[in-house]
């Protein structure tokens, strides 16, 4: 499959097929992110459609040769924030199993057609999603982006429109809160092989 920036360039040149390929490439990851943030499938679907509509309307702002993914993620981030502000709720609890996603993906955010390892444990997934929903929106987003979507702290900060330091703090606090919610003890510090005392 072509790279996102090549598809974005062809799309900007008027190739509708390139947009569809871009959608196939980006939408699963983006929907995964939005679902973890919004916690409701219908809302996440709606936010995804809004995000791509905004990308479409703002495509003239794209800079040729640039990676469009952080920009598209930022649009999704902003769309979610606007929605949460509008409805004064950032969290909607999952009510039944039908609202859980159907297709497993790696922790990097790739959909399962790109990997061949086993599927996730549904109970553990559900518990983790519930625990994520307990976090404040900023901490949840930091955990989702850095731990689940495989973004670096710098990439996550760029997407969320904050500083690297603030993103590190949010992610750390999010991990700590998540650990307490999941009832897991902190990892013992690793002893480096042959390390000095």
């Amino acid at each position: 499959m072509a790279e996102a920036k090549e598809l974005m360039q062809r799309y900007s040149d008027g190739d509708a097929g390139a947009f569809r390929e871009l959608y196939v490439l980006v939408a699963p990851r983006l929907l995964g992110y939005l679902l973890k943030m919004a916690r409701e499938r219908a809302l996440a679907d709606d936010l995804l459609q809004q995000t791509f509509l905004k990308v479409h309307r703002a495509r003239g702002a794209y800079v040729r040769g640039a990676d469009p993914l952080p920009w598209i993620y930022s649009i999704a981030h902003r769309t979610f924030i606007d929605q949460a502000r509008k409805h004064k709720r950032a969290v909607v609890r999952v009510g039944d199993a039908e609202e859980l996603p159907e297709v497993a993906a790696a922790i990097t955010g790739e959909s399962d057609d790109r990997r061949d390892d086993d599927r996730a444990d549904p109970e553990l997934v559900s518990a983790t999603l519930d625990a994520l929903a307990e976090l404040p929106a900023q901490q949840r987003e930091a955990v989702v982006l850095t731990k689940l979507d495989g973004k670096t702290v710098a990439e996550a900060a760029e997407i969320a429109g904050t500083t690297i330091g603030a993103m590190k703090v949010r992610a750390h606090r999010g991990y700590e809160a998540l650990r307490k919610l999941l009832g897991k003890p902190a990892r013992p510090p690793r002893r480096a092989a042959g390390g000095t005392p």
């Binding site: 799309y11 190739d15 699963p28 495509r59 996603p101 553990l124 983790t128 429109g161 992610a171």
Partner: protein
């Protein structure tokens, strides 16, 4: 970074494209994408021409030949840098990125807003024909403030047009940088026009133009540059 071992998260199948998007794709046309370097060059050129026009209308300061040339040129260069650097950071992203560097732009806006006030209060040489106002006539600086903010209008509006729809995050800081850049152009025009040499006037009014333009821009411009 330590944290709980999170399970592999499921990723859902995305829904089909909405009818609205399908309709948009049905009439998809080529669009001209953003060219940041070309835009900044055009914006700087147009803004300088506008600033020169404003200065031509107002006339150069009468004491220009009496002032130390080093100070006149040095301060002019500082105003020019205060104009170009925030605009550059607000409009030109790093290589390979779509979004401009809003954090650096924010820093430039803050430094410009505070730095020119501090410099104005500290450095204000005068010649025999320079005027002084003092606190009792400080209010007469409103004219300079208005002129400076009016001069900032073209770079701010031009930048907002070039950046429309480009800033899903950081738009307020980018707008502040556009305002600070425009305000510095206003400061440059005032530097070459106004012969009042009070530290109070030069610092708080001429320097203050930068902060006022940045605040006004931050309040108004994001409506144009946000992705909606």
């Amino acid at each position: 970074m330590t944290g709980p071992d999170l399970p592999q998260m499921p990723t859902p199948r995305p829904p089909p494209l909405s009818p609205m998007l399908e309709a948009e794709l049905g009439q998809l046309a080529r669009v001209a994408t953003r060219r940041p370097l070309r835009q900044i060059a055009l914006l700087v050129a147009v803004s300088l021409a506008y600033g020169a026009g404003v200065l031509a209308m107002l006339a150069m300061r009468r004491d220009v030949h009496e002032l130390p040339m080093g100070w006149l040129a040095g301060a002019g260069l500082a105003w020019l840098l205060g104009f170009v650097v925030p605009l550059y950071l607000a409009m030109v992203p790093r290589r390979g990125a779509v979004m401009p560097r809003w954090k650096l732009a924010a820093g430039a806006a803050l430094i410009g807003s505070l730095g020119f006030i501090a410099l104005g209060l500290a450095i204000h040489p005068s010649g025999p024909s320079s005027a002084t106002l003092g606190w009792e006539h400080f209010g007469r600086g409103a004219g300079c403030l208005g002129t400076g903010v009016a001069t900032a209008l073209v770079p701010v509006v031009g930048g907002a047009i070039f950046l429309r729809g480009a800033l899903p995050v950081g738009s307020r800081w980018i707008a502040a940088a556009l305002g600070a850049g425009g305000g510095s152009l206003g400061g440059l025009v005032l530097h070459l026009h106004c012969r009042v040499t009070d530290g109070l006037h030069v610092g708080l009014i001429h320097g203050g133009v930068v902060g006022v333009a940045a605040l006004l821009s931050a309040a108004l411009v994001p409506r144009a540059t946000d992705v909606r």
